[in-house]
Subunit: 455 residues, 2 copies
Amino acid sequence: MREREAEEAGRRLRVVIVGAGFGGLACARALDGKPIDVLLVDRENFHLFTPLLYQVATALLNPSDIAFPLRRVFRRSRNVRVRQGDVVGIEFESKIVHLGDGAALPYDRLVLATGSANAYFGNPGFAGHTIGMKRLGDAMRLRNHVLSCLEMATRSPEPEQRRSWLTFVIAGGGPTGVEYAGALGELLRLVIGRDFPELTLDATRIVLVEGRDRLLGQFDARLGAYARRVLERRGVEVRVSTLVVSADERSVQLSDGELIACRTVVWSAGVRSSDPLSEDAADRAPGGRLVVDARLRVPGADGVFAIGDAAAAPERLGGEVLPMLSPPAMQEGRYVARLIAREARGHQRPGESPPFRYVDKGIMATIGRSSAVAQIGPFRFRGLVGWLAWLAVHIYYLLGVRNRAAVLASWAWNYIRKDRTIRIIARSEPDAVAESVARPSVEAPAREAAPRPDP
Amino acid sequence: MREREAEEAGRRLRVVIVGAGFGGLACARALDGKPIDVLLVDRENFHLFTPLLYQVATALLNPSDIAFPLRRVFRRSRNVRVRQGDVVGIEFESKIVHLGDGAALPYDRLVLATGSANAYFGNPGFAGHTIGMKRLGDAMRLRNHVLSCLEMATRSPEPEQRRSWLTFVIAGGGPTGVEYAGALGELLRLVIGRDFPELTLDATRIVLVEGRDRLLGQFDARLGAYARRVLERRGVEVRVSTLVVSADERSVQLSDGELIACRTVVWSAGVRSSDPLSEDAADRAPGGRLVVDARLRVPGADGVFAIGDAAAAPERLGGEVLPMLSPPAMQEGRYVARLIAREARGHQRPGESPPFRYVDKGIMATIGRSSAVAQIGPFRFRGLVGWLAWLAVHIYYLLGVRNRAAVLASWAWNYIRKDRTIRIIARSEPDAVAESVARPSVEAPAREAAPRPDP
């Protein structure tokens, strides 16, 4: 080892990780402290704890509760550097990552952990008339939007118009759709009646639309049926085997023929792998995910790995493709970090290392107050037990003592006081520098060469 | 009384209060429970605790910590209703308030509590190249902007360019400028060095520019001198008797001849009364404030009162005009509420009631960690004692148990851990409905007639 280190003294292995979601962050943390130069690139300056995004969208949590500054994570690291930027292209031959601000980042190993974005099944019009739930800005927008709809409803003397402001259609009955539907129902119950004497809860309507024949397709059928019963008991209309056919500002057309007048369509019906490669730069699996081998390498691209939602990673050698969830992403990130670290130490070529193998730790989803479903190995939990398990797991995986304390305090306040104090319609004023720091714009400041991290 | 109520049974006095700042809110709360129909109109759906705005701008507090939903304040009220909207015109003759969304609100008594906006002393170009500190969106923008400047600095290999990203000019040495300068210095000290290994604190520069010959002009001269010493000891350059002559994206020109290359100019140099009346609709005092009589009535406009920053209220009959601060605004709000309530009970015509008289409870400002100045009657406090007094007063006046707890927790965390976890660059995605709920836009939904509050 000593020889090897000396040999490399002049030039350590340079690893660029694109994306600081669950996969990229796990990879960077696993490489922290190793004799490797790591550069973690993300469009945002924070890691987003997406499983709680719906709670920001329903005014239960502050945006900062689930967003953890990346520089803080690696504050004590001597080899991991953070760079905010938007990757616009990658040259596999010359091993360079291009950022939107003009910077060119050379790499020896590249980890693509770029996640997924909303997919609209060939209906690009959906994007303009629906609100997604993938990024922090989406959740803040959805909070502002829903609260604004309630204000607009108070001004509509005509019952039909008022009803359309109070009708919320959620496309997609997976965990995101189910969790948001439950939390939105709770928000309306808590807020209308107490805060809006002009409105009644009867006039509100939440419709959850799912294309498959049941909710929570990834879960056991009994748990999906349970989720449906709980939601329906709480006033959510559940439509299975139904698709959103079209949407505009005033209405949604469902495949069962119903036209619903509404001002809000939340999109959680489909995601598609998202990466900065051109369509033909790499082989793709269904959903646009990058094809990777059993060691998560992108075939034909030397030194390039892909993990998480961006990659179609097999469960084990020859196994099924893993779902787009945080546990596979994190395990893949740590696996790739191990591979790279071993290689840097000169112990092993990637081809010699054992292939990736996923350890299933289970899946879970909440359905609102005191109710959740969880599926861990052969066990199925639901109701209060599932909910408590859900709380514990999410607090455990959340980054940072302060964020954990803030989230616990908010949950306790919400549970005991039945109150959501964060229901403010707050827009940050636009700022040219803040816009350009990750995305170049017309008013972007002069482009500067990006310094290489130099620990 | 009983006769009077019966007499009015068909039609209670309708009061419209425009603006839910300190003045408007105090007025509405004082009218809560009275046999009067009150409608409180504001552009936002929350009351903003502006004295702590600079702490949101420096990543110490969450926006929701200092923004309290208005509907929550009046949740149990049977006679106060809240309406989000932007007042675009007022007809004194027919007693109607016009909102930007087309609604027309009739009133019997109108209270103008519309506050103030930034004033640029005839340099409209300043507005586009400076960031204000008046509204919540400004503070969120400033937070995003400053954090983005640090990111941009890490990408600037050229020292001069890097320095310009790290130079922050604050125009105006009143309480807002002093408090922001102190808090910004703290933010940079806490964040750079720990989070930004690429940067050093030496490269940063904070310049506080004040046109008068000392800081904190409203305070005792010794307290202003003390504030200056503390700021300078903490690395802030203080320039008194100096004006900002011009500003663009890259630099600021000072009246002493210096041209400072910088990317951030914070504007706290001047405010101007802000109201929806046309220039000639009412008499105005210096600063654009509405002239009012000793009972805070707007001469020539029947049933119209003006309070707070919007009005040039005399301290007492024939006394000096009160400064633009929250204590006079609150006292004026409560005074006008008393006047209106008495009138509604038929006890008194406004002309018979005693004129408004201000009770000075003192002024205070923080200069950063463990240091503040306070001036209460003949007493002067500074240093730790002043700071503790400042903390106590601000917690006391903050609305809501949860907000108080959240702010206290943030302060304790910041003080003990020397950490600011809210340093995320977070922009909410734009939303047409949220934009139109208070301000009409091209994409605004159909205009609906506003319902009268009907308690």
